[in-house]
Amino acid sequence: MTTALNGEQIARKINKASPGAVVAADKAAVVVTGESLFKVAKFLKNTPALDFNYLADLAAVDYTDYFEVVYHLVSLAHNHSLVLKTRCYDHDKPVVPSLTTLWRSADFMEREAYDLMGIVFDGHPNLKRLLLWEGFVGHPLRRDYL
């Protein structure tokens, strides 16, 4: 059974490695700030006890005050998983660091989040629309579209 790791325990480990990164943590997920996202993700990938080498899913959610990007990380060797989140409070020009250098699977998923939600991923090698065409006005999955 894949054990879902407790967010609070992981939050303590993250805080030791990069203090001030964690915004909130509960049993299910850990929320980190946008600026420290890359450092935290690198720490989660490279620590041997955690060893998150598989990014299963990347989803973007539009809560009307802020955007939230949810990452589901899995470790194949230890068979445990973690939910990592980050929030972006700027509704017009949301920017989140890209994790494509750590996990290449983020490539298409980040392009899709840009296409449908409008979140720009800073550092992505090829950020352009994936599912809709160039010249489409708007980002359909936002709550205020249509």
Binding site: D90, P94, V95, V120, L127, K128, W133, E134, G135, Y145
Partner: protein, 196 residues
Amino acid sequence: MEVDKYHIPPPNELDVAEGLRINSLMAASRNPIPDPDSWIDEEIQRNVLVTSVDYVVDWARSRSLFPLMFGLACCAFEMIGMATSRFDISRFGMDIFRWSPRQADLMIVAGTLTWKMAPAVKLVYEQMAEPKWVIAMGQCCISGGPFRESYSVVPGINRIIPVDVYVPGCPPRPEGLIYGITKLHQKIVKESISKA
């Protein structure tokens, strides 16, 4: 510093050209194209000599249609199922599915049509040589189907190309599609060569 980081790279010129094509097609396709119904007029004004020549030519045309494989989504697998040995359309003379539009005269559009794909459908339709017919297979081609309310689905392919026979179903059974093809045969038999 946030404003500096919000940098979207300039788009590729091929992508921009494609986008312009799609947007202009969207703007031009507000109303559905009327279904071809010239066969109704001809029936009223038939004369005997043209009828027998017409009859032979149309019979030959209808019994040797070459379908074009244009499966887009789920309905494509029922179309392929129709071509396999259980339902077998080679008994109607439609043995080989052509891959090239230049060699086909029947286009069976099967599956959901999105605005992004619409210029390609129009291009393939225009590449087919006259006389040509179109069958709209499945709900998505007739009216947009379960996805009609979506922002990227064409509400029926008759916005883009004229359609001869509509086959409803989601997906229609292969027997349903064969019934649609026999209806098309009846329609072709009523056409006059002076029109084409």
